[in-house]
Symmetry: C2
Subunit: 252 residues, 2 copies
DNA sequence: GAACAATGTAAACACCGTTTACTAGAGTGA
DNA sequence: TCACTCTAGTAAACGGTGTTTACATTGTTC
């Protein structure tokens, strides 16, 4: 991140001091994010926290948006590390357990860090959109890497569950962005099922974190749990849910 | 909204001029919202648009947040009107068709008005949170009225579909906020199924509007369609999905 | 030690939300 | 009609923001 050349040019004392300051800036930025949302992040307040002038921060970041961007990348990394840890916190080859643990870890992280979740997965913010814009086609895209992490486990679950391709492959055409990055190692149906599952879980977590369902429900944990077990089942024995629903509709 | 007393005191010429200015303010605020998100809404820019001084706006709204709040209420009303129109744009008694049309209208409105959707259903914004805070327990709560509108049709669909209560009523305890406002005219299972359906559709729409799935998928319309047909089926013949999934899990 | 890049500052610019004091004018009751 | 009140507007100010500029200082390096 800090070293630009592929052959590390022996980080000097100033380099270390510099990256330490960068980290201090991001820590202060996160404190502001937590205290009152992304709008609260301010160059002058961060500078005050570090005992600096606002103008000094421009030696480290070209703009406020760049600070928000760097913070968002950090948060993506943190969340990804959380999921990796959850994935590896169980027995050897157990894709169902891995996916389950990762899903729960995601929900727990989101509820414990609502402001951070809002920055990454809520309303688009200029600094966060920049991540997706500037890294187009790059495998280093934070959102892609995050999706890829979960998808890898889900794919293993799909394979072990004996996922057969169904006759319905109408979704294939929609997956071109995915194909461009990850190729065609997985059947359309597997990728689609994963994206549908991810969307369902995201919806529940977002509803809960944003409080948009608080007028009706106190706790969305049971809903998350049901959805999750259903999704694991759908991944191991695919087609059952959708095929049943379609048959049911046709016979009405 | 403008008249405070229950017996209208004959709106004078000044009253009309006043509410016209209020509307102008909200129109300008919406233009800013559309142009670049909620953060773009600014007292001074609105005033400039109307040919006024910034201070003049404080004769109409006590703060910028209050303007955002009023705008959000307006948007809720607009969306509600859209859904009502979609509901009534079909044959007489057809709850399944009504719910389907409302769902599609919701998605279309969200995609056509991403900034507005973001204000209402995205990251919590101070001015929008105020709606939910100040109207606590009040039936005039915008979010509640919105939910109630869809729920009414869904409930009719549930009744006509021969919805039976299942043995699983563990979700009842979670619905206390709902019960406090709407009483117990509907079985727990019906309310829960509705909330689950609403959450699923919300997740898909939010993913698409916010662009969080653009790295993998171009168009979430087919996903929305599948989810919707599944949900209609689940409402008319409940228990089938969850019961099947649970049995499937148990026999693994 | 001299040259040089990195890091900091102070000051300014153009914005922002909000408050205050003040004024022109419309509406109203005697 | 006159006097009074209330409304809707203004200008000016206060403290806040992101950002740029010119300048000073410090640390590294030859």
């Amino acid at each position: 991140m800090t070293a630009s050349a592929p052959d590390r040019p022996a980080p000097t004392r100033r380099d270390r001091s510099r990256s330490a300051t960068v980290q201090e800036i991001l820590v202060a930025a996160r404190r502001l994010l937590v205290s009152g949302g992304a709008a609260e992040i301010s160059v002058r307040v961060i500078a005050r926290d570090l005992g600096l002038t606002a103008a000094a921060l421009y030696r480290y970041f070209p703009s406020l948006d760049a600070i928000v961007t760097a913070l968002a990348i950090n948060l993506y990394d943190e969340l990804r590390a959380q999921l990796e840890q959850a994935r590896d916190a169980g027995p050897g080859h157990d894709p169902a357990g891995q996916v389950t643990r990762m899903a729960w870890r995601f929900r727990n992280w989101a509820l414990a860090h609502p402001a951070e979740f809002g920055l990454l997965f809520g309303n688009p913010v200029p600094g966060v959109q920049a991540i997706e814009r500037d890294c187009d086609g790059d495998a280093d895209h934070a959102g892609k890497r995050f999706g890829q992490l979960v998808l890898a486990c889900f794919a293993e679950l799909w394979r072990c569950g004996g996922g057969h391709p169904t006759g319905d492959d109408s979704v294939g055409a929609l997956l071109t962005p995915y194909r461009e990055t990850y190729g065609d190692g997985l059947p359309d149906q597997a990728v689609y099922t994963f994206l549908s599952a991810w969307t369902r879980l995201y919806g529940i977590v977002a509803m809960e974190v944003f409080g948009h369902l608080s007028w009706a429900m106190t706790d969305l944990r049971p809903m998350f749990e049901r959805e999750l077990t259903q999704l694991i089942a759908a991944a191991t024995t695919p087609r059952l849910d959708t095929a049943a629903a379609r048959t049911r509709l046709r016979t009405r």
